[in-house]
Amino acid sequence: MEKKPIIRVRNMVAKYGENTILQDINADFYPQQVTVILGSSGCGKTTLLKNILRLYQPESGSIEMFGVETMGMEETAFEALLGRMGMLFQNGALLNSLPVYDNIAIPLEQHTCLPPEIIRRIIEVKLNLVNLSHAINMLPSELSGGMRKRAALARAIALDPEILFCDEPSSGLDPLTSAAMDNLILKLKNQLKMSIVIVTHELASIHRIADRIIFLDQGKAVFSGTLQEAMNCNIPAVLTFFEVGKF
């Protein structure tokens, strides 16, 4: 029997001003699975992610997280839910004025009562997981794009979130770093039982990590299912994506 979705989106509509970006989106995200949101550039993938996380306000519809409706939820109640989630932004979004250590310490210091030595230990381990131990005292401006992204991932997993959202985690990374990032995501899923939602274009990465695919086309969710089902479906937009991506 299939598990109950950890995130359930129903009839969601999102707009920028007068422009409708997402129309009537229905999508389910299941626990301990990697769900990849796919689609061509500008189809609304990041918008969907940010609407689920209330970084943008959806126009209408219903979003359930951990079995609780979040549309219209009080800000404080939603903040409590946010403590159970982590987000890796497309460009890392590290605070540039703080060293890597302090960036990762933010959620630990703000959301737990852990003693400083435990916090230091957690930060060292999380940085080691993303292979960035040497950068602990560096400023984000001293890091390369890939390093910044890995440091941001260390911050996103600082609190061992139940759901990890990643916006294009492997874009701009070399194939080796990208594969290492995918392995880490799988490790987080398998060992820590994390549910992971990823927006990506990278086909190689999708083949490595995806359990489920949600395909967006022109603001509509045209497909939802496993990777295998996506590759065998008869939806032209999905088929073209996988066919063209081969080359």
């Binding site: 630990l108 957690i122 940085l127």
Partner: protein, 355 residues
Amino acid sequence: MKQENNTLFLDGAVTKVTVPALFAEQKNLDLNSITSIDGKNITELDSAGVAFIDGVLLQAKLTSSALVHLTSDHREQYHTFSSLALDAAPHVQSVPVFQQIGEGVLQWVSSLQDALYLTADIAFWSVVGLFNHKGQRKGAVEQQSLLIGVNAVGIVGLLSLVLGLILALQSAAQLRQFGANIYVADLIAISMVREMGPIITAILLAGRSGSAIASEIASMKVSEEIDALKMMAINPIRYIVVPKFHAITICMPLLVTLSNLVGILGGLIIGITYLDLSPTAFLNEVLNVLVLRDIVISLAKSEIFAWAIVIIGSYFGFHVKGGAEGVGRATTNSVVASIFAIILVDAIFSLVFYF
């Protein structure tokens, strides 16, 4: 958590929620006598829990093999998050006081050197830019003149008028006692032209335009726009700074002249309304007391102030470090340094020409 014989038994959740209490509890235990940690009854474990177990193992001088009876899931999690195998992270060493002083001095000398190079660059390209507009955006000087000069007319005029009114009012009360009402014109004319006009305009421009120059250049540096200009073989000083330099060179004397005139007008208003002076007598006295030398020094001084504002703003903009906070710091530092430089230059002018 309980200690029996030489074994520490952990039970229930060992997570970020329970670790603070466990951490406090562990201080009451005799960790030196522990030879193993039993994790059989752990129901939940996360990275904070692993960090706690590692801390106990280290204090008890044990290795990870002393952690026994973990479920396979927890064992796997423990290995993922254990910090025992990691090399100690580099800690920032504290620097001795004398080394800090020495480094501070060296840094100051290096900053001064950079500022001088920048000044030379700006001076060179400003002269070149007069004859060759290549490498500059069309209409940039006009646009900057509008921002630096025209948009400042209102505030400079208003402040100078208020300043003239206050100076005249304060001095009139004293001069009136000796029947020396007419000398209020001398006082206002000399103080506005020699000191107040140039300095109040310069301080206003340091706050208005100096901060804008620093923050604009710093933002461009942070967002790699300066690098992009360099990659397009465009000299950033020529493209960004020179138009501002030309604009402020044109606008500053005009603004100072406006400030002087409006300040004197403020004095005239007090002279007419409070001291019963006639406008003709007041203006005759002003013209008699002012000499060309005063006006020339006033304008020359204002040009030096203007150049200091642009050079200091550019210096802090180009030398920004960090992100958004760095931009804020560069802006603040540029305003503080510009005001300091203005007062210093003013003091030097006073010593050279009036001592």
